[in-house]
């Protein structure tokens, strides 16, 4: 194969190696994706006076849960707050795994990266519990546009978490072989995966207040 320049070392005039520029561009496009989703949420919510109101027939059906007639009260704030903490913690462990490689401590890397993956798993489990609670009360995306937005945005975010989990899992497991052959390139990979992971974390930091609290 051809040797591509600046695959590992930074190009002097841009100060970046290829993958790092690549991931920033990818994240720019992700900002546009989630930007469109958030804008649509704002537009739908301001455009429909009944956006947050639970219709009568559904409210009656909800029984004891139906005290309030506002959709967002149906969401589980404590669980979502816990999930916020889990994701923030996983961002810290992600940084620590990169730092460990910079300090050439591969054992510590395995530990921190493993923790990152566990946090991602934990996030998904909590998310699944939340989704399940909605489904068991017959609350689906078709119930109303607030829930539709909730499921679409948290669902797409969850897909991003799963994507990150797959990448991080690979870098923790089979992909970690690269540490022996090309340590610098491997460290770069962790940095790039980390940038993505922080972005996923950041999206949740916006999702949590705008869906659960507002």
């Amino acid at each position: 194969m051809v040797e591509i320049p600046y695959n590992v070392e930074a190009r002097p005039d841009t100060g970046l190696y290829n993958a790092k520029l690549g991931i920033w561009l990818f994240l720019a496009s992700e900002v546009m994706l989630f930007g469109a989703l958030f804008s649509s949420y704002v537009l739908l919510r301001t455009g429909d006076p009944n956006f947050m109101t639970i219709p009568h027939e559904i409210a009656e059906h909800l029984g004891g849960h139906g005290e309030s007639h506002v959709w967002s009260d149906q969401l589980n704030v404590p669980l979502a707050f816990l999930n916020t903490l889990v994701l923030i913690f996983s961002s810290v462990t992600m940084v620590m795994s990169w730092v460990s490689l910079k300090l050439e401590d591969f054992g510590k890397y395995k530990l921190w990266m493993g923790l990152t993956c566990l946090c991602a798993l934990g996030f998904m489990v909590i998310k699944a519990i939340e989704y399940n609670a909605k489904f068991s009360h017959d609350l689906f995306p078709s119930s109303g546009n607030f829930l539709a937005i909730y499921f679409t945005m948290t669902g797409l975010h969850a897909l991003h978490v799963i994507g990150g989990l797959i990448v991080n899992g690979y870098l923790w497991g089979p992909g970690a072989k690269m540490w022996k052959t090309e340590p610098e390139r491997f460290t770069n990979r962790i940095e790039v995966a980390g940038l993505y992971w922080h972005f996923v974390d950041l999206v949740w930091i916006f999702l949590f207040p705008s869906l659960y609290l507002l």
Binding site: M1, V2, E3, I4, P5, Y6, R11, T14, L16, N18, A19, L21, G22, L25, F26, A28, S29, E30, M32, L33, G35, A36, L37, S40, L43, L44, G47, D48, N50, F51, P55, F140, P141, S142, S143, G144, N145, A148, I149, T152, L156
Partner: protein, 591 residues
């Protein structure tokens, strides 16, 4: 050469080790991927053209059986060979979708960008070869999904290439396939655009500073940014529409919507306008995705064949960057008549007038570049020259559409069709042809026949105008663009209906005018005249520093170092009349 000669066995090794599959199918070489993109896109270009020919038959001879293909369309689409209105709608939606997303963008960016950009910047390949391969295969899958949608119950998408809800939400299953296909195409273009930007930023060779980049590279860079940032909102919109269709959400479905006398299910409360905003947020920048690479190709061909530097190279570069920025804030000029309000219309009308300025700068610079040149009228140059007035007509006829007052009369008529087809068909597609004729010797080491090229050019040039010019007449008379019988039912259309036959016959002739091109393309691969490495005596790196075809992996026998700008034609001190970007001259002459 010395680098290669010291390790000849390394290079041999690469060649022999590659399986056929790795070399031609799942190749990671940007040149092979470029050819794959080019071939696939040309096939889709032909397919989209055939769809249009069936529509043109229906418009000229409504209710008469379609000759040749009428029998194979099936009873669901054309019983007895006579086209049903539903099938006409499928053809309309899919002609637009295929031409924009599967033919022209992949040809302009996937094929030309992929093949030429790394060569012009002196790079051994794209920055991420594997992503490049993935980008092609995701695109090909998207193409298959789109093509297959013709065969699902109810046929392909039939709500226009813009897929406006609520119509598209209540449409047949083909619409879901369309959305799935679009998600794949968006993914492909995302992978591609990241790759292009990183390649251009990171892999320029020593000495190739920003203002020494060939204009084509600049055009591709701006295009890549547009694709990167404009497509994701459509992806979001695609998810929403898919949810509306599959999970019965109401993102785009208003409350109490009545279709065929029945209230549509679902919670309601959605906004059909939201889709239009998200769609045009992509689709307007997409117009510049279609046109910028074309301008890039035309700039290369014109500089090369006038044998002089481009007039106003820097203005062209700044204009294209400005064009890129502005293209993000003009989208709602497609929505003047949606009831979004006159204040918003005024804003978007103003930005629309502003964005015409950079286009005019680029076009004027290209036109002025001809002044005082000793022009070589070869086939690529003919196509490039034809691009200028054709794009000019397309652009200028856009102004009345950009004013919200005049748009009231013109919107949704054949005038619109005439306008954007002048931009894209004799505009962009001519530039693509110019590119094929210009870079064919780079890919094969052989020239295409100039005689067949001219036999392709002149009829195409005349016929394109015969097809699209009458559309302005029909449109000004108020003929709607969406009528499957060409407007027979309408009194106001009667005086201009006779143009339908004229346009359709011109379209059928245009089909035959493409035969010399297809023959030329395939014959010249083996039989074309061998032409050496730099048949056009060009200055840019892809011609001057690499053999034709370039080295299989790595492109350049020796990594070039750039010393000057891209279009140093006819400098007086040089006997050959052109100065390649990487050539070295004795210090005494360099001053």
């Amino acid at each position: 050469m010395s680098v290669l000669e010291t390790h000849p066995e390394d290079h041999e090794h690469v060649h022999h080790d590659e399986s056929w599959l790795r070399k031609y199918v799942f190749s990671q070489d940007h040149k092979v991927i470029g050819i794959q993109y080019g071939f696939t896109a040309l096939c889709f270009l032909l397919f989209g053209f055939l769809l249009m020919l069936m529509m043109r038959w229906q418009l000229a001879y409504p209710g008469q059986p379609i000759p040749i293909v009428g029998g194979i369309l099936g009873a669901d689409n054309a019983p007895g060979g006579i086209m049903l209105p539903e099938f006409y709608n499928q053809l309309g939606a899919m002609h637009g979708t295929i031409m924009v997303f599967l033919a022209i963008v992949p040809l302009a960016v996937g094929a030309f960008g992929n093949y030429v950009v790394p060569l012009q910047i002196g790079a051994p390949d794209m920055a991420f070869p594997k992503l490049n391969m993935m980008s092609y295969w995701v695109y090909a899958t998207g193409g298959v999904v789109m093509f297959a949608s013709f065969f699902v119950p109810g046929g392909a998408a039939n709500s226009g290439w813009t897929s406006y809800p609520p119509l598209s939400v209540t449409a047949t299953a083909g619409q879901s396939w369309w959305l799935l296909g679009m998600v794949l195409l968006i993914t492909s273009s995302l992978l591609g655009s990241v790759n292009f930007i990183v390649t251009i930023f990171q892999l320029r060779v020593e000495g190739l500073t920003w203002m020494r980049l060939p204009f084509f590279v600049w055009a591709q860079l701006v295009t890549a940014f547009l694709l990167l940032l404009a497509f994701p909102p459509l992806e979001a919109a695609g998810f929403f529409q898919l949810m509306d269709r599959v999970l019965d959400t109401s993102f785009f479905m208003p409350s109490g919507l009545v279709v065929s006398g029945e209230v549509v299910r679902g919670a309601g409360g959605g906004s059909p306008l939201l889709w239009q905003h998200l769609f045009w947020f992509l689709a307007h920048p997409e117009v510049y995705v279609l046109i910028l690479p074309a301008m890039g190709i035309v700039a290369e061909v014109i500089a090369n064949n006038t044998r002089k530097p481009l007039w106003g190279y820097k203005s062209m570069v700044y204009a294209s960057i400005f064009l890129g920025f502005m293209s993000f804030i003009v989208w709602a000029h497609h929505m003047f008549l949606t009831g979004m309000g006159t204040t918003i219309s005024t804003f978007f009308q103003t930005t629309t007038m502003i964005i015409s300025i950079p286009s005019v700068i680029i076009l004027s610079a290209l036109l002025l570049s001809l002044w005082g040149g000793s022009i070589r009228f070869n086939t690529p140059m003919l196509f490039a020259l034809a691009f200028l007035p054709m794009f000019g007509i397309g652009g200028l006829t856009g102004l009345p559409l950009g004013f919200s007052a005049t748009d009231i009369h013109l919107h949704d008529t054949y005038y619109v069709i005439g306008h954007f087809h002048y931009v894209v068909a004799p505009g962009t597609i001519f530039a693509m042809f110019a590119g094929v004729y210009y870079w064919f010797p780079k890919v094969t080491g052989r020239r295409m026949s100039d005689f067949l090229g001219k036999l392709h050019f002149w009829p195409s040039f005349v016929l394109m105008n015969c097809i699209f010019m009458p559309m302005f007449i029909q449109g000004l008379a108020g003929v709607s663009r969406r009528l499957y019988d060409g407007g027979m039912q309408y009194a106001h259309a009667q005086p201009v209906l006779h143009w339908n036959q004229f346009m359709s016959i011109a379209a059928f002739c245009l089909f035959f005018a493409q035969i010399p091109f297809v023959v030329n393309l395939f014959l010249s691969i083996k039989r074309g005249k061998e032409c050496g490495d730099n048949p056009w005596q060009a200055t840019t790196l892809e011609w001057a520093a690499a053999p034709s075809p370039p080295v299989a992996h790595g492109n350049f026998p020796q990594t070039p170092v750039v010393h000057r700008g891209p279009y140093e034609y006819s400098p007086p001190e040089h006997p050959k009349g052109f100065m390649p970007q990487h050539a070295t001259v004795p210090a005494s002459e360099e001053g």
